[in-house]
Amino acid sequence: MNRNLYFNILRYDPEQPDIEPYMQSYLLKETERMTLFIALNRLREEQDASLKFDFCCRAGICGACAMVINGRPGLACHTQTKDLPAIINLLPLPFFKLIGDLSVDTGIWFREMNRQVESWIHTKEVFDPQASEQRMDNSTAEQIYELERCIECGCCLAACGTARMREDFLGAAGLNRIGRFLLDPRDQRNEQDFFQLIGSDRGIFGCMGLLACEDVCPKHLPLQDQLGFIRRKMGLRALHNLFKR
């Protein structure tokens, strides 16, 4: 406690392209139960009002504050400084477009991903306001929720080797999203429909299975199982398609 913390933070503002990216250092006294949310806000309020970074819920729920913390993607709001060494290096997430300093544009990427994988229930049934709800097993509901907990923070993409090489890679978050709809009895898409979306190198066949994604997912989503499950399903579907031809 009462350590001196040294923050090295990447600085760059795309609105001022003449100034090259550089690392800037700040010194801050650690206080009890300090999180990076507290620390960064103090830096901005007391030392450098131009610092750019994102927080929203500050409670590990919204996914806004992902950044690379001492080399590892994670949520800044639930990272306590006591778990870090005195020298703290902060970089913006790679892969996403930089807005400035530690702030990146995850929103645009995820909206596009959602559009591409058609992240909504596909059904021909029309909602009847007079009728009672369609029944569902509670265990099915809980399984869907398990996959729906993704907060679109982008950590998995930032840690992913394939994503570094292919800009159009859907990443663990995108494939997990497909898994969520595959599981949902309300979605009437069949395997072939899903295959159209992800049966390629930008989808499931681009994944090298090294599982950095699961390691860094702050929501502990079962990404490994999901990727395996989808790969098996889609692999079978690919074979199936081969023989049909």
């Binding site: 503002d13 795309p14 609105e15 001022q16 009890e32 139960r33 999180t35 901005r44 309020e45 450098d48 009002a49 131009s50 610092l51 750019k52 994102d54 929203c56 819920c57 500050r58 409670a59 590990g60 729920i61 919204c62 996914g63 806004a64 639930h78 306590q80 807005i99 400035g100 702030s103 544009d105 995850t106 929103g107 645009i108 995820f110 909206r111 959602n114 559009r115 058609e118 992240s119 909504w120 229930i121 049934e125 909602f127 306001p129 009672s132 709800e133 369609q134 029944r135 569902m136 097993d137 509670n138 099915t140 509901a141 809980e142 929720y145 729906e148 907990r149 907060i151 679109e152 309300r186």
Partner: protein, 615 residues
């Protein structure tokens, strides 16, 4: 030159309320754009854990529930401050809204037939779910409700609702302009026709012309230092309405404190903790709520539990800590399985932020600012008072089915129910409207904002935005908290007036370029302080206690003089708000009576002499 964008419907806000309205207008074929400070799915709606109320009556403890019971709970919860016509409409529509969400993909928890144990007040009971109800949407217990009515998806209800809503919005082709902040409304004194917004990627201004504008910008909890709200809950929507000098805000003094914000950090652990059987303990690790509230104990309404906790701390029973006194929340007896599934977010919050394992340890909690019942006053169709073409919905609005205290689970329900109803009313309006955009007014508004920014960057102001905001938050915590009195409120009001004056000479420490947060705050600050002044003045004038508004010097609920809704307006160039009043409800399906919890005396509508009545 700034960018100009034209659309039919402009929703300021892309949380549950904004997107639900947007879906309605987009489905009717109107071009629809939502603005949001953050990607839509990061809106504060995502943070709601506990659940959404809808009287389905599917689960064993919800048997016999129906919209009438929901209505009675809501009216009592509001301490008779709500608009009963709206509350009725709301309760009737909630079951439809929730089933629609099920159809759209929300994985609501379902009824599992058979016998099951549950906890209440630390004791274990048992219930049997009927096999004919298997697979229907189930519900959990929440404060202030006669039946188990709060439907949920584990403790990620807001998250699943918002993700489903955003999926639906994507499918409907709605444009979401995120990182974009509305900073002024466009209007000609009678008609609203768009907004000026600032792009938070580049810092550049944009003009949005729209035939109809919706304010769905959420709450303004950040006028308080200790709040469960996201850091973006800064009341931008309410503030730009106030700036028109015409639009009125309703019941701004009605601020809800939630019993279980964690210490420190003020992150919320859901009411579901108590609903599922968690108990509050004091410094001696003893339960106390049942002493104050024999009937409802931990499950009285939020305003009541928050006050009782504060009283208990004042009685010397608080737990000392470096962050001030607090109490304990105990959920350990619910067991690891329950906590790791249905209260998993709670588990994560405790371990990540407090280093506390809620299965074996107690959670430090105290009441924390949580919800703004007040907001842009609308009629039952969601039309804002004062300007044609302006609507409001969700937490930003005072549609007013919450009155002076919102019940847990009624806000998520409000966002989607109001979204349906107000959305329909926007559609009706759009069908009858042709566009009439006054470019002169728009350009002038835009120049005004540009000038404000220029003065902030290059002017000769002295005050710092961050420190003024911090001072304002402290003033609100000290003077306008859970318990209020004349002295505290009038001191707070004077100090806020000073801050308002000082906020006229801000100066940025940074260059204000691009996605600059200091500039955002500097632009918001005047509005924030004005909202704080509305809250404080409303509270100072209201010499009674009703729902969350508790005056120590006027402890009784005074129906004779105060069965009214406060309306605040801010005349252009004034330095203070003007208050007005209207009847709390036009219809009295349930006449004012006793809530059945919370104690306190009532000065009834027909009493003539105040003194006599309060004795």
């Amino acid at each position: 030159m700034q960018e100009v964008i034209t659309t039919d419907m402009l929703c300021i806000g892309a949380g549950l309320a904004g997107e639900r309205v947007a879906i309605e207008t987009a489905k009717a074929g109107f071009n629809t754009i939502c603005l949001s400070l953050v990607p839509a799915r990061r809106s504060h709606s995502a943070a709601a854990q506990g659940g959404m109320q809808a009287a389905l009556g599917n689960c064993a403890m919800g048997e016999g529930d129906n919209p009438d019971v929901h209505f009675a709970d809501t009216v009592k919860g509001s301490d008779w401050g709500c608009d009963q016509e709206v509350a009725r409409l709301f309760c009737e529509t909630a079951p439809i809204a929730i089933r629609q969400l099920a159809h759209w993909g929300v994985p609501w928890n379902r009824v599992e037939p058979g016998e099951d144990g549950y906890f209440q007040g630390g004791k274990k009971y048992s219930k049997t779910e009927k096999s004919e109800n298997a697979g229907l949407i189930t519900a959990r217990n929440f404060g202030g409700t006669a039946k188990w009515r709060t439907c949920y998806t584990s403790d990620g209800t807001g998250h699943t609702m918002l993700f489903t809503m955003d999926n639906k919005a994507t499918q409907a082709g709605i444009d979401i302009h995120d990182r974009c902040e509305a900073v002024a409304l466009l209007h000609d004194g009678t008609r609203c026709f768009g907004a000026v917004a600032r792009c938070m990627r580049t810092g550049r201004l944009r003009i949005y012309y729209a035939k109809a504008v919706l304010i769905a910008s959420g709450g303004f909890g950040r006028i308080y230092r200790e709040s469960t709200n996201a850091v973006i809950c800064t009341g931008g929507g309410q503030a730009i309405c106030l700036d028109t000098g015409i639009v009125q805000l309703g019941n701004m003094e009605a601020i809800q404190f939630h019993p279980t914000g964690v210490v420190p950090g003020n992150i919320l652990v859901t009411e579901g903790c108590r609903g599922d059987g968690g108990v509050l303990l004091d410094v001696d690790k003893k339960r106390f709520m049942h002493i104050y509230e024999p009937a409802k104990a931990e499950l009285a309404s939020r305003d009541v539990v928050s006050r009782r906790m504060t009283e208990h701390i004042r009685a010397g029973k608080g737990v000392p800590s470096p962050y001030g006194e607090h109490l304990w929340l105990d959920i350990g007896h619910l067991g690891a399985k329950h906590i790791n599934t249905r209260l998993r977010e709670v588990e994560e919050i405790c371990t990540n932020f407090l280093g506390v394992d809620p299965i074996t340890q107690l959670i430090p909690v105290r009441p924390t600012q949580h919800y703004s019942m007040g907001g842009v006053r609308t009629d039952k169709h969601g039309k804002a008072y004062g300007l044609k073409g302006l609507f409001a919905a969700g937490e930003a609005a005072c549609w007013d089915m919450h009155g002076f205290n919102r019940l847990g689970g009624n806000s998520l329900a409000e966002t989607v129910v109001a979204g349906m109803i107000v959305g329909q009313s926007c559609v009706r309006f759009l069908k009858g409207e042709s566009a009439c955009f006054d470019t002169g007014i728009a350009n002038e508004q835009c120049r005004n904002v540009q000038q404000r920014i220029h003065t902030l960057v290059a002017g000769n102001g002295r005050e710092k935005a961050f420190s003024l905001r911090n001072e304002m938050q402290d003033v609100m915590m000290e003077g306008v908290g859970i318990f209020r009195n004349e002295l505290g409120l009038s001191n707070a009001y004077t100090r806020l007036e000073e801050l308002h004056a000082r906020a006229a000479s801000l100066k940025l420490a940074s260059n204000g370029c691009g996605a600059n947060a200091e500039l955002s705050l500097a632009l918001q600050l005047r509005g924030l302080i004005r909202l704080a002044l509305c809250v404080t003045k409303g509270a100072l004038e209201r010499t009674e206690s009703r729902g969350s508004h508790a005056r120590e010097d006027y402890p009784e609920r005074n129906d004779r003089d105060w069965l009214v809704r406060t309306l605040s307006r801010w005349d252009v160039d004034n330095d203070h708000p003007c208050l007005d009043y209207e009847p709390a409800s036009r219809v009295w399906e349930i006449p004012p009576g006793d809530r059945g919890y919370g104690g306190g005396t009532v000065i009834s509508t027909d009493s003539t002499n105040k003194k006599e009545a309060s004795e």
